[in-house]
């Protein structure tokens, strides 16, 4: 399974689908940098992420910390929420608390 990177017309948001893992982070990073070159504010939709590993998590952190850019992750899929929760990086990523809190509730429920 590879990763599909869908960039919307206005380059304001990106949707990732498939793997966000060591196998795909190289390519995703390059695409992210391309998009970031055009805009300062990006939404990254993680709703289609079916698999994520440490490399994927690290890439999320890297994107978030890019100076001068405002990256927001949205629609975290279950696997993403689980990992974010396990690594306790929810606050660090600072994405809308609703999602983060929902994630915790969800994981706690498991």
């Amino acid at each position: 399974m590879a990763c599909e990177i869908v960039v919307d017309a206005g380059a304001q948001s990106i949707a990732l689908r498939g793997e966000l893992t060591i196998y795909t982070v190289g390519e995703i990073r390059i695409r992210l940098l391309d998009v970031m070159a055009m805009t300062d504010k990006i939404d990254i939709d993680l709703g289609g992420v079916a698999e994520i590993d440490t490399a994927g998590l690290q890439l999320m952190l890297l994107a978030k910390r890019k100076p001068g850019k405002e990256v927001t992750f949205t629609h975290h899929s279950a696997v993403v929420l689980h990992l974010v929760d396990m690594a306790s990086v929810g606050l660090m990523l600072g994405d809308p608390l609703v999602i983060s809190a929902g994630g915790m509730a969800q994981t706690a429920g498991n």
Binding site: I22, V25, G26, I28, R29, L32, L33, M36, D53, T54, A55, L57, Q58, L59, L61, L62, A63, R65, K66, P67, L83, M86, A87, S88, V89, M92
Partner: protein
């Protein structure tokens, strides 16, 4: 398709590994039961179960994981000294080991695992499992004794607020190596409850500079686990060497975290906060620790190791032990890499080709000798000796220690002695003697029969033993040693010995021998090998049904071996198996009778002499003051070809007996690749196989064992024209 093959291969490795581990478990358990366990046994036992659980998990064999987990838990408590070995526990664990073996093979064959049996055993194990595990198992039934154990256990364990602290900084390349740090953390969850994970991002580069395939983040983990340090460490055993993993046990003093803080290159204040965030330290403790650190800074900074030791994090003795252990593991790993696993069919194919090479080489050599050219002869000789070396090496590849077979018997003896209500000890010696792999596989069943037989019929009941002044505990000894191209395996018991009169009486009753037959004691003993013979007064479910001993005899003969019985009344019986080392290629001694070629296995040839004249009507001769029985092959095989005026006697020896073979011509040593005879000729007496000589002639391989048996017991005439089986049956 490929992935299926890979999976099948991996599964094969898993099965093999599981079998080895289970065998190891059994060995240790039996040793513990005998009271001879060593300090390393308990951790080893735990590791076996743990490894099986781990690899079963990789294949998704959930039932194996579920069951083994409970077993592992008990083993862990044994290892930690929370519980001790009892006879009862060993019994249950042995049953568990059997059940795991059963589960693994059932699942591998695609069957449905016996979950009911698992639950039954888990219920039995409950007396020894920790309280929290017992709660997890199905339908707990409270027993008074059990609850006493639980109280003791919870007294020994840590309190809930004490967590392990793990500081994980992985090598940057770990992701590229296919390992996922978060997976390790996830897996930690199998050791206990993950209280908190703090992700350390201090070393994250910027997105522009980052190589996203390198790991830049670290983790601090608080873990609530009853597991031992070793078990937690094992989670990270495959992590690359330059990863920095620190594991601090619960109850670690606050000062012990100085070592950790010093050893990491993040800002120490920040680390302190992390430790507080993880719940490992209270703010007060952090404060104390940091102040202590400040003080130590004023002196020259001590080296990390010194800090670790000084702060009581690790005692110097522990460091020494750890290093030693590491070295031992290293050595073990090195010795493991020295051996290579090769599918046996490849080896068989190699041996087969080497056999052909040997024949072809001998043929070439024979041709070269005919052409009178010295240089050609020399190179042909060199070639032949190289081929011989290769043959020996190839055969040695298949040699395995007989111990492989012996190792299953301690368990058998244990179980059978329980069943019989006798106290019997098994002594094994010579387990390192080697023989061909194919023989090892075939010798197991006959030996099993013999051992069971010795235990059932040989060893007397305890009161009988005591009455005759013997130690109450009976002994069955299993010995192996090499002798002239053969391996001798003895099964000896110190029981009552064979009762010749009773055997004879029984044999006459069963019509195996005629009444009034004059038999030597040896011959009478051999009667117990006859089909349908059993002297046991009572039939047990082990032996005594008259099947077994004749099957043993047939099996041994099928391997070109012999079976001897020695017995001293009141002192015991020894059954001696004599088997050739290999079934494939031998050094032969090439002789001729008339126009037929025969091969005698060279290992059995003692010497060659000329047949003294005037012995036409005798079948023995005098040699160095002793009578030597001989057999005329011409007569035995009904040869009519051209005879020699001066026949030779080839003196052979097998299983301690000597006999002569009268032949016409002696050609000398030759390489012999044994070709089995077709089913049509299997029954030909005194011939064990055939071979092709260098010049393309076919030679018959003489079955010296059978011949000697016939000659020595003076019944060889009977074999002449009889059947191979008839020979020994009549000998009896």
């Amino acid at each position: 398709m490929d992935t299926n093959d890979e999976l099948a291969e991996a599964l094969g490795v898993f099965m093999e590994e599981a079998r080895e581990l289970l065998a190891q478990m059994e060995e240790i358990l039996l040793r513990e039961e005998a009271g001879g366990g060593s300090e390393e046994d308990l951790p080893a036992l735990f590791r076996c179960a743990h490894t099986i659980k781990g690899s079963a998990g990789m294949f998704g064999f959930d039932e194996v994981v579920r069951f083994t987990h409970v077993v592992e838990n008990v083993l862990d408590r044994l290892r930690n000294g929370a519980i001790g070995f009892s006879r009862q526990l060993v019994g249950v664990l042995l049953d568990c080991q059997d059940h795991i073996a059963g589960l693994v093979s059932t699942i591998a064959e695609g069957g449905t695992p016996d979950i009911a049996r698992s639950d039954e055993l888990i219920a039995e194990l409950r007396a020894w499992t920790a309280a929290d595990d017992a709660a997890g198992a199905a339908a707990p039934r409270q027993l008074p004794a059990e609850s006493a154990v639980r109280v003791a256990a919870s007294g020994g364990g840590g309190t809930g607020s004490d967590y392990w602290h793990l500081s994980l900084r992985f090598a940057p390349g770990i992701l590229a190596e296919g390992m996922d740090p978060m997976c390790f953390i996830n897996y930690l969850g199998t050791c206990g409850r993950i209280v908190h994970v703090e992700t350390i991002t201090d070393h994250l580069p910027t997105l522009d500079e980052a190589d996203p395939e390198l790991c830049h983040i670290g983790f601090e983990v608080a873990l609530d686990s009853p597991a031992g340090k070793e078990e937690i460490e094992r989670v990270f055993q495959f992590v690359a060497e330059n990863s920095h993993i620190v594991i601090l046990p619960p109850h670690s003093k606050a000062t012990e975290f100085i070592g950790l803080i010093e050893s990491l290159d993040e800002d120490s204040a920040r680390l302190g906060e992390i430790l507080v965030a993880c719940g490992t330290l209270t703010p007060q403790e952090l404060d104390t620790a940091l102040r202590a650190q400040q003080q130590s800074r004023q002196d020259t900074p001590p080296r990390l190791g010194a800090i670790l030791v000084d702060s009581g994090m690790v005692a110097p003795a522990v460091v020494g032990a750890a290093i030693e252990k590491q070295q031992r593991n290293e050595e073990k790993r090195r010795s493991e890499t020295k051996s290579l696993k090769v599918p046996s069919e490849r080896l068989d194919a190699l041996i087969d080709r080497v056999g052909e090479l040997v024949i072809a080489g001998a043929g070439t050599h024979a041709q070269a000798v005919k052409i009178q050219r010295r240089d050609l002869q020399e190179s042909a000789s060199l070639l032949l000796s190289l081929v011989e070396d290769i043959r020996d090496m190839a055969l040695r590849l298949r040699m395995v220690a007989i111990g492989e077979v012996f190792s299953r018997f301690p368990r058998v003896v244990r179980d059978v002695s329980r069943e019989l209500g006798k106290d019997i000890e098994l002594r094994i010696s010579g387990a390192e003697a080697e023989l061909d792999k194919s023989m090892v596989e075939k010798v197991g069943d006959p030996l099993m029969h013999l051992i069971r037989n010795s235990m059932d019929h040989g060893i007397e009941a305890a009161e009988v033993r005591a009455a005759s002044g013997k130690p109450v505990r009976g002994t069955v000894a299993l010995n192996a040693c090499h002798e002239s191209g053969a391996i001798i395996i003895e099964v000896a018991d110190d029981g009552g010995g064979l009762d010749a009169d009773r055997i004879l009486k029984k044999a006459i009753e069963k019509g195996i021998v005629a009444e009034g037959a004059n038999l030597s004691t040896q011959e009478i003993y051999q009667l117990i090998l006859a089909p349908g013979f059993s002297t046991a007064e009572t039939v047990t479910n082990l032996s005594g049904r008259g099947v077994g001993m004749d099957v043993v005899k047939n099996n041994v003969e099928a391997l070109r071996g012999t079976l001897d019985i020695d017995s001293v009344p009141g002192q015991g019986t020894t059954i001696r198996l004599c088997l050739p080392l290999t079934l494939a290629i031998i050094d032969g001694f090439h002789v001729g009778v008339g126009s037929t070629h025969f091969i005698v296995p060279l290992d059995m040839v003692v010497e060659c002499v000329e047949l003294p004249t005037g012995l036409d009507h005798f079948d023995y001769m005098e040699q160095r003051g002793e009578a030597l029985p001989f057999v005329r092959l011409r007569q035995l095989f009904g040869e009519h070809g051209p005879a020699h005026i001066r026949p030779r006697v080839v003196i052979v020896r097998f299983a301690g007996k000597r006999a002569g073979l009268v032949v016409d011509r002696i050609y000398g040593k030759c390489q012999t690749v044994i070709k089995p005879l077709g089913p049509l000729f299997e029954q030909v007496p005194c011939v064990s196989g055939s071979t092709i000589l260098g010049d393309g002639e076919v030679a018959l391989i003489i079955d010296v064992a059978q011949l000697i048996q016939g000659v020595v017991t003076r019944n060889w005439q009977a074999t002449h024209g009889g059947t191979a089986r008839g020979a020994t049956a009549l000998a009896a």
